[in-house]
Amino acid sequence: MEQLARLGRIGISSLERLGRGHLLLAHMFSGVTALIMRPTLLIAQIHSVGVFSMLIITISGLFVGMVLGLQGYYILSQFGAEETLGVMVAASLVRELGPVVTALLFAGRAGSALTAEIGLMKATEQLSGLEMMAVDPIKRILTPRFMAGLISMPLLAALFSAIGVIGGHFVGVGLLGVDEGAYWSQMQSKIDLHEDIYNGVIKSIVFGFVCTWIALFQGHDCIPTSEGVSRATTRTVVHSALAILCLDFVLTALMFGE
């Protein structure tokens, strides 16, 4: 009986959290019009959330592209199809690895930083202080960060894919001797704007939305102590990673299912 009661309590508290998360989301959206009037706030956040993530995205993209070039070449050369290496590298990056790995890195680099920042602002009463200064902390602090995450993620994913294609080219064409013309022309003719690129962009927008939402909610909802902030930061990374991978499956099934 006690087990059942505990299960019920966990269920209720999870539902409560979900409800609070949605209320926060609605509240953040209500601040978008005010944000449009003050674009400097958004630009500052894109700088801190997006621009500061560029280095890790560039380096990771380069290595992922290089590994794809290497692995792809060994498999494709068994069938004498190494000319299609460009297609394989680009399709893997644009459809899957670009959005997914970028989102996972984003959750670790920017998501955890957002949670810690908001959590500490709560713990040091900065959010309460803003409220008492008649400034809505959600609209003033959270909305710009949310929109910055939403805008940055597709751009970072595009950067990741572009750098990855260059990495694949470096290994495939530069080191393993795949024909350069074939690498680019095959890629150009087989990669479809709608089927591949648009779908990849949609994925990265969805991941940007979910990752930033989770990070901001965990920061805003954390217990305002050092332990609370540390647990919230961990939860951000874990929940974001799980959400990204689950959503990736769902989106892939919907987009490429037929």
């Binding site: 200064m133 008649a134 400034v135 809505d136």
Partner: protein, 280 residues
């Protein structure tokens, strides 16, 4: 403000029948408090009596379970968000930690409410901020970051920020806690000086008896969710009530027990002995 013409003697803050619970524990159990205009009112009581909670209730950050709080004739908890924010512009609050924004410097922290709520030109903002920093003696610290300030300086910067919009009242949350004697002396001087010079109404929540009693005009003592004494500060200082005496004289035991509620000591010890015996 929708104030009746003939109610100028009305208290600025009127709390009636306030009840507030955290889980099953009653933080306030029927509290009535009047905060008169233009005076310094101290709310005192042992730690954990919900003094900070009271300030958050007055500021509309928390909702009471029962009772009403009127500020300037308006029921704080019946206001919509827009009106509540308008009301908050007339209130300043000094948090225990200062609550300064850590990513901007002292000048920008004090300028923050002006930039958010007014369209004043930069030259006027600069003058106003420097005036307020001068009032707290920190004009020279304008370029420092909050992390470079001592606790006492941070609190003074926060005070400059709290008064920059010229509010009607200021709420001080434990202004003296953890201050060295010099910072404490500075704050003890500053609070009444500001109150007089800017014609403010101040609410000081504190458990530092000597300092608070020294500057307050009115004192309320809260314990166990109730107001156990309230009135002019001399009257409270000379009160015969054992509750008030215990608090004002800092006695370890009295009507407020030294021990947190627990089962009898013997039963607790025997239970422990039984448990250890069972292991051996």
């Amino acid at each position: 403000m929708s104030q009746h013409p003939n109610d100028s003697n009305e208290p600025l803050v009127k709390i009636r029948g306030l009840r507030f619970y955290r889980r099953e524990r009653a933080i306030f159990d029927g509290v009535d408090i009047d905060i008169p205009k233009g005076l310094i009112t101290a709310i005192m009581g042992p730690s954990g009596t919900g003094k900070t909670t009271l300030l958050k209730l007055i500021g509309g950050q928390l909702r009471p379970d029962a009772g009403t709080i009127h500020v300037g004739g308006q029921d704080v908890h019946k206001l919509n968000n827009k009106d509540l924010y308008k009301l908050r512009m007339r209130m300043g609050m000094l948090f225990q930690s200062g609550a300064l924004l850590t990513d901007i410097n002292v000048f920008e922290n004090v300028a923050y409410p002006l930039r958010e709520h007014t369209q004043l030109p930069e030259s006027i903002i600069r003058k106003l901020v420097l005036m307020k920093l001068e009032a707290v003696g920190l004009r020279g610290a304008r370029d420092l970051m909050p992390s470079e300030l001592s606790g006492g300086m941070a609190r003074r910067v926060a005070l400059a920020r709290a008064i920059v919009l010229d509010p009607q009242m200021i709420m001080y949350d434990e202004p003296f806690t953890g201050q060295d004697p010099i910072s404490m002396g500075v704050l003890v001087q500053l609070i009444p000086r500001l109150n007089k010079a800017s014609r403010l109404t101040s609410i000081v929540v504190s458990h530092d008896v000597e300092e608070t009693a020294g500057i307050a005009d009115i004192i309320y003592v809260i314990s166990n969710g109730k107001v156990i004494a309230g009135g002019p500060s001399e009257q409270i200082a000379n009160s015969d009530s054992p509750w008030v005496r215990q608090f004002m004289d800092g006695l370890a035991d009295g009507p407020v027990p030294f021990h947190f509620p627990a089962k009898p000591l013997e039963a607790d010890m025997l239970e422990n002995a039984a448990a250890t015996g069972a292991i051996h």
